[in-house]
C-alpha cells in the first residue's frame, strides 16, 4: 500500500485550493495539492468579468466601502447568507485584490480624465479623478450599488489563476496532477486524509494529512446545460457527503447565469451587461426595464434569468431549430471596447457562434452556472462535524452566498476564503492537540474498500451504461430542477433519480480495463453524482418557498417565517435519499434584517422576529450616526472571527490612513 504523508492535503487545484496551500506553506506546513487537471486549467480560469472588492477607485465607485458591499451581498443572497461570514469576506476582499496586484495580476487601471461609457443604453461621459490614475479600475456588475468589480479585461480568472498558480510553484508546493480523491479517510469524527486514484495508471494511494481541505469547485455537470467545465462534477461535494459525517448545506440553491451562449451554454460574462450591453427579444425590444425598472439588466442573476425565461414563455423568444433564445446586444459598446475589455467574449462569439459581436447580436439563454451549496463549514472553513476536514470556494458553504450569489463575488470568494481558511488550517496544524496517532489498519481498510469497489465495477457483468445514466440524470436536472420548479416536477425528478441511483449499482463496462480507462471514471463518478443530484432535487422539493435562485412556482413567495434556515444534508451508507436537517438563521444577530432586495419580487412572508431586530438596528444607527465603524461593531462584531493578520480597515482614496504609509 502506497502512503503519502503531509501536513495539509488540498483536494482541488483551482484558486481556492492554491491559495489555501500557499497560506499553509508560508506558515511552515507542508502542503500537497491534488488536481484532476493541471492547476492552471481549473475552472477558476473561466471567471471572466471580475472580482468584487470595495476599493472605490473609479468615480462610479466613489463612496463604496465594506458596508455597501455587505448589503449588496446579503440582499443578493436573499438573506440566506451567514452575515458574519459576509462581513469577514467584504473586509478581506480589498486585501485579497491588493495582494494579487503585488503577485502580478495585471488589473485594468484607471485612466484620469473623461471617458465615454454606456449606462442604461445611453452614452455618458464620466470623469475619472487625478488621484485615482493608475489604481485598479472597477466595472459595474449585477446587484451592486457601486461599480465594484475589479477586472483584467475579461480574463480576470485567467490572470488570477496564472498569478496564484505561479506563486504556488514559486513556493515549491507539489501538485499531484491527474489525481482524483475517491474517499475521505475518517473515523466518523476526525478526517485523516483521502484515498486517491492516479488517473494515468489507475493506482490507488492513501494520502494521510493532519488537515484535509476540499476545494473542488462546483457541480454544474449535474445539469445538461451549464457554463461549467466538464470537470465540475461535484466530486468534492460527494466525498464529504459519502463520509456520512460531514454535511452539505443548501444544495438546492443553484444559480443560472442569464447569458450562456445558445445553444452551447458557454458563458459570456456579466461584464457585457455591466459595461452597458442590453437584453433584447424577438422584436428587438429591450424588455428588462419592463420587469425591473430599478436595476433593469443589472438585477441579480436569479432575477434576470427568471425574467428572461418568463419573457420567452410569453412568446417573445427568438425561435431556432434548437428552441427559443433571446439576444444580448453589445454592439453599442463599440469595437474598441469589445476588443479590449471583452476580448474573450469576442473570441467565443467568433469561434462558437461564427458571429462578430461588434456588429451582430449574441444568442443567449440562461444556463446552470454556480453551486451556492457546498460542504457546510464554520467561519474557519472547518466542518463542524468532521474534525480536520476543511472546505473553501464554490465547494464550500461557509455560507456567504445564501440562495444567490452576486456576479464577481465567486472569484473573490476563492481567494478570500483561501486566505482565511488557509490561515485557520495553519493554526490547526500548529496546535499540538490536533496531532493524531492513526492506526494503519484504518487506512488500509479505506484503500481496500475503494479498490474493491473499482474491482467490482471492472468485473461487473451489469447491463447499465454509465454514460447513458449520466445523460439521463443531466436531462432530469435541467428539465425538472431548473429555474422554475414545481412540487410535481421535483417529485418526479426525485423518484427517477432514485431509480437511476439503483441502476447505477448495475453498471457494466464495455472496456473493462482497470488502468487509464475513461469509462471506468464515468462509472464511479456517476454513482457519486446521482447522490448529489438527489440531494439537490430532494432539498428543492422539501423547501416549499422561493428564495434567491430557488424558485417554486407553487410556492412563489419567500417565507422567512418558515424557511429562514439552511438545509443540511447528510447521506447514510446504503440510503436512497439524503437525510435533511435545518439550521435556523438567527435574525437577532443580523446586521441587515430581512426585507425587500431592491429588485425582484416585492412580497415575502416576514419572520416574527424581524420587526424587533429592525427596531434595534434603527436605534443603533441613530446612536452611532456618523461613525460607520462603531455602528458596524455594535451591529455585528466579527473581527475576532478573522485570522489576526487579515484584520484591519482598508485604505481608500476617500478614506486615507495618513501617517507614514507606503507612497500610493
Amino acid at each position: 500500500m502506497k502512503v503519502v504523508y503531509t501536513d495539509v492535503l488540498v483536494i482541488g487545484g483551482g484558486l481556492a485550493g492554491l491559495r489555501m496551500a500557499i497560506a499553509a506553506k508560508r506558515r511552515g506546513h507542508d502542503a500537497v495539492i491534488l488536481s484532476l487537471v493541471p492547476p492552471k486549467r481549473s475552472h477558476s480560469k473561466a471567471a471572466q468579468g471580475g472580482m468584487q472588492a470595495s476599493l472605490g477607485n473609479v468615480i462610479k465607485g466613489q463612496g463604496d466601502n465594506e458596508d455597501v458591499h455587505f448589503e449588496d451581498t446579503v440582499r443578493g443572497s436573499d438573506w440566506g447568507a451567514d452575515q458574519a461570514v459576509v462581513r469577514m469576506f467584504v473586509n478581506t476582499a480589498p486585501k485579497a485584490v491588493r495582494e494579487l496586484a503585488a503577485w502580478g495580476v495585471p488589473w485594468s487601471r484607471v485612466r484620469r480624465g473623461d471617458r465615454t461609457v454606456i449606462i442604461n443604453g445611453q452614452k455618458v461621459t464620466i470623469t475619472e479623478r487625478d488621484e485615482a490614475h493608475g489604481l485598479m479600475a472597477q466595472r459595474d456588475f449585477g446587484g451592486t450599488k457601486k461599480w465594484r468589480t475589479c477586472y483584467v479585461s475579461d480574463g480576470t480568472g485567467h490572470a488570477m489563476l496564472q498569478a496564484v498558480g505561479d506563486q504556488a510553484i514559486g513556493s515549491g508546493i507539489p501538485v499531484h496532477e491527474r489525481a482524483e480523491a475517491l474517499a475521505l479517510i475518517h473515523d466518523g469524527g476526525r478526517c485523516y486524509g483521502a484515498v486517491v486514484r492516479d488517473l494515468i495508471d489507475g493506482e490507488l494511494t492513501a494520502y494521510v494529512a493532519k488537515a484535509t481541505a476540499i476545494a473542488t469547485g462546483g457541480a454544474g455537470r449535474l445539469y445538461r446545460v451549464t457554463t461549467n467545465a466538464v470537470i465540475c462534477e461535484g466530486i468534492g461535494h460527494a466525498l464529504a457527503l459519502e463520509s456520512g459525517a460531514a454535511a452539505l448545506g443548501n444544495m438546492e440553491a443553484v444559480q443560472f447565469h442569464p447569458t450562456g451562449i445558445f445553444p452551447a451554454g458557454i458563458l459570456v460574462t456579466e461584464g457585457c451587461r455591466g459595461d452597458g450591453g442590453l437584453l433584447k427579444d424577438v422584436d428587438g425590444h429591450r424588455f428588462m426595464p419592463d420587469y425591473e425598472p430599478e436595476k433593469k439588466e443589472l438585477a441579480s442573476r436569479d432575477v434576470v434569468s427568471r425574467r428572461m425565461e418568463e419573457h420567452i414563455r410569453k412568446g417573445k423568444g427568438v425561435g431556432s431549430r434548437f428552441g427559443d433564445h433571446l439576444w444580448l446586444d453589445i454592439t453599442l459598446l463599440g469595437e474598441k471596447h469589445i476588443k479590449t475589455n471583452l476580448r474573450e467574449v469576442f473570441e467565443i462569439c467568433h469561434h462558437f457562434l461564427g458571429i462578430d459581436p461588434t456588429k451582430d447580436l449574441v444568442a443567449v439563454r440562461p444556463a446552470q452556472h454556480y453551486t451556492m451549496g457546498g460542504v457546510r463549514t464554520k467561519p474557519t472553513g472547518e466542518s463542524p462535524t468532521l474534525k480536520g476536514l476543511f472546505a473553501a470556494g464554490e465547494a464550500a458553504c461557509w455560507d456567504m452566498h445564501g440562495f444567490n450569489r452576486l456576479g464577481g463575488n465567486s472569484v473573490a470568494e476563492t481567494v478570500v476564503a483561501g486566505m482565511i481558511v488557509g490561515e485557520f488550517i495553519a493554526d490547526f496544524c500548529d496546535d499540538p492537540g490536533n496531532e493524531f496517532n492513526l492506526p494503519t489498519g484504518l487506512v488500509r481498510e479505506f484503500v481496500e474498500r475503494e479498490q474493491a469497489k473499482l474491482d467490482a465495477l471492472v468485473a461487473s457483468r451489469g447491463t447499465e451504461d454509465a454514460s447513458a445514466l449520466k445523460a439521463r440524470m443531466q436531462e432530469i436536472m435541467t428539465a425538472k430542477v431548473g429555474i422554475f420548479r414545481t412540487g410535481r416536477d421535483l417529485e418526479e425528478a426525485v423518484a427517477e433519480l432514485q431509480q437511476l441511483l439503483a441502476r447505477s449499482r448495475n453498471i457494466g463496462l464495455r472496456t473493462p480495463s482497470p488502468g487509464p480507462n475513461p469509462e471506468l471514471v464515468t462509472a464511479y463518478r456517476v454513482q457519486k453524482m446521482l447522490k448529489l443530484a438527489l440531494t439537490v432535487a430532494y432539498g428543492a422539493l422539501t423547501r416549499t418557498e422561493s428564495r434567491g435562485a430557488h424558485f417554486r412556482e407553487d410556492h412563489p413567495r419567500r417565507d422567512d417565517a418558515q424557511w429562514l434556515k439552511r438545509t443540511l444534508a447528510t447521506w447514510r451508507d446504503g440510503a436512497s435519499l439524503p437525510e435533511l436537517n435545518y439550521e435556523p438563521l438567527d435574525i437577532a444577530k443580523m446586521e441587515l434584517p430581512p426585507g425587500w432586495r431592491g429588485y425582484g419580487a416585492k412580497d415575502y412572508v416576514d419572520h416574527p422576529d424581524t420587526p424587533r431586530r429592525q427596531a434595534e438596528v434603527d436605534a443603533l444607527k441613530t446612536q452611532y450616526a456618523g461613525d460607520r465603524f462603531a455602528l458596524q461593531r455594535a451591529l455585528l462584531p466579527y473581527d475576532d472571527l478573522l485570522p489576526a493578520r487579515l484584520r484591519g480597515r482598508n485604505e481608500r482614496i476617500d478614506e486615507p490612513f495618513g501617517g507614514t504609509g507606503r507612497a500610493a
Binding site: G104, A159, R224, L353, T522, R649
Partner: protein
C-alpha cells in the same frame, strides 16, 4: 403577489440542448484518431476511424464526446473548459496543433486526422501530459513574480501602474500554456532542452512587470544560452499556431535583443 407568476396555460419549455449536440443534416464525418497506450508493451500506434453524423455547430469537443459515449468509451482525450480558455485540449488537427474544443468539424472535415501533441509525454491516445512539462518549464524559468522581501501591507492603497502597461502585461499574460507553440516548434522537436516560445514569452512578460524585481542579468541566467533564447531558429511555427494569437515573434525577438545586449556589457 409575484409579478411574473407563470400562467398555467404555458407548458414548460425545455431548456437549451446540451452543448449544441443535435443531429443535423451536415453529412457524415470521419475522425481518424491516433490510438496508442504507451504503458501496454504489445501495442503499436495506429489510426482508428470513427464515422459519425455531423451536427450543426459541432466542435471536435462534441464529436469526440459523442464517440466516447456512443462508440468507444476507451478513447482518451482531455477537455476541461470546452470554451477555448483553459488550454487542455490541444492536439494535432490535420497536421497543425490547435485547440480541439473550438475547432468546428465543418471547418476541418469531412476527414479529420487527430494526433496527440508531440513534444510531450504521451498518456494515451490523444491525451498528453502538458501539465508536467509546463510545471518543469515554470520551475526552470522561475516563472513567477519575484517580489521584494518585505511583507506587503495589504490594508494600504495598491501601487499605481500606468493603464497602458497593465494592458501590455495582460497581452502577454494571456498564454494558456496549451503547448501548441511547443508542438509547432521544429527546434524543440529536434532539441528537447530548448525552452520553447511559451517560456520565452513568460520571460518577456515578467521583464515587463515592474512588480518583478529581476533585471536583465537575472533573466540572462535563465535563458542566455543555446537552450534558451539563442537556440531559437526563428521558424515561427509557434507564432503561427498560437490559438491566442500572442505576439510571440516580436516578443522572442525582443528578449533576444535584450539578452544579446547583456552579452556585450
Amino acid at each position: 403577489m409575484s409579478m411574473f407568476r407563470p400562467t398555467a396555460t404555458h407548458k414548460v419549455i425545455p431548456l437549451v440542448p446540451a452543448d449544441g449536440a443535435q443531429p443535423g443534416n451536415g453529412g457524415r464525418i470521419r475522425v481518424h484518431a491516433m490510438r496508442y497506450n504507451p504503458r501496454d508493451p504489445g501495442n503499436a500506434p495506429r489510426l482508428q476511424t470513427y464515422e459519425l453524423e455531423q451536427a450543426e455547430g459541432m466542435t471536435l469537443f462534441i464529436a469526440l464526446s459523442e464517440i466516447r459515449e456512443k462508440q468507444d468509451p476507451s478513447l482518451q482525450f482531455d477537455f476541461v473548459c470546452r470554451a477555448g480558455i483553459c488550454g487542455s485540449c490541444a492536439m494535432v488537427i490535420n497536421g497543425r496543433p490547435g485547440l480541439a474544443c473550438r475547432t468546428l468539424t465543418k471547418a476541418v472535415g469531412p476527414d479529420i486526422t487527430l494526433l496527440p501533441l508531440p513534444g510531450f509525454e504521451l498518456i494515451g491516445d490523444l491525451s498528453v501530459n502538458t501539465g508536467k512539462w509546463m510545471r518543469a518549464m515554470s520551475e526552470r524559468l522561475e516563472a513567477w513574480v519575484h517580489m521584494k522581501e518585505a511583507e506587503l501591507d495589504l490594508t494600504r492603497i495598491e501601487a499605481r501602474m500606468e493603464p497602458e502597461l497593465a494592458e501590455q502585461i495582460y497581452e502577454l499574460d494571456r498564454c494558456i500554456e496549451c503547448g501548441c507553440c511547443v508542438a509547432g516548434c521544429g527546434t524543440v522537436r529536434m532539441r528537447e532542452a530548448f525552452v520553447g516560445a511559451v517560456g520565452l514569452n513568460k520571460i518577456a512578460r515578467f521583464r515587463l512587470d515592474p512588480r518583478d524585481t529581476r533585471d536583465d542579468d537575472d533573466f540572462y541566467e535563465l535563458v542566455g544560452d543555446d537552450d534558451g533564447v539563442f537556440g531559437c531558429m526563428s521558424l515561427l511555427g509557434c507564432h503561427d499556431v498560437c490559438p491566442k494569437q500572442l505576439p510571440l515573434a516580436t516578443q522572442i525577438a525582443f528578449v533576444r535583443r535584450k539578452m544579446a545586449a547583456v552579452g556585450f556589457r
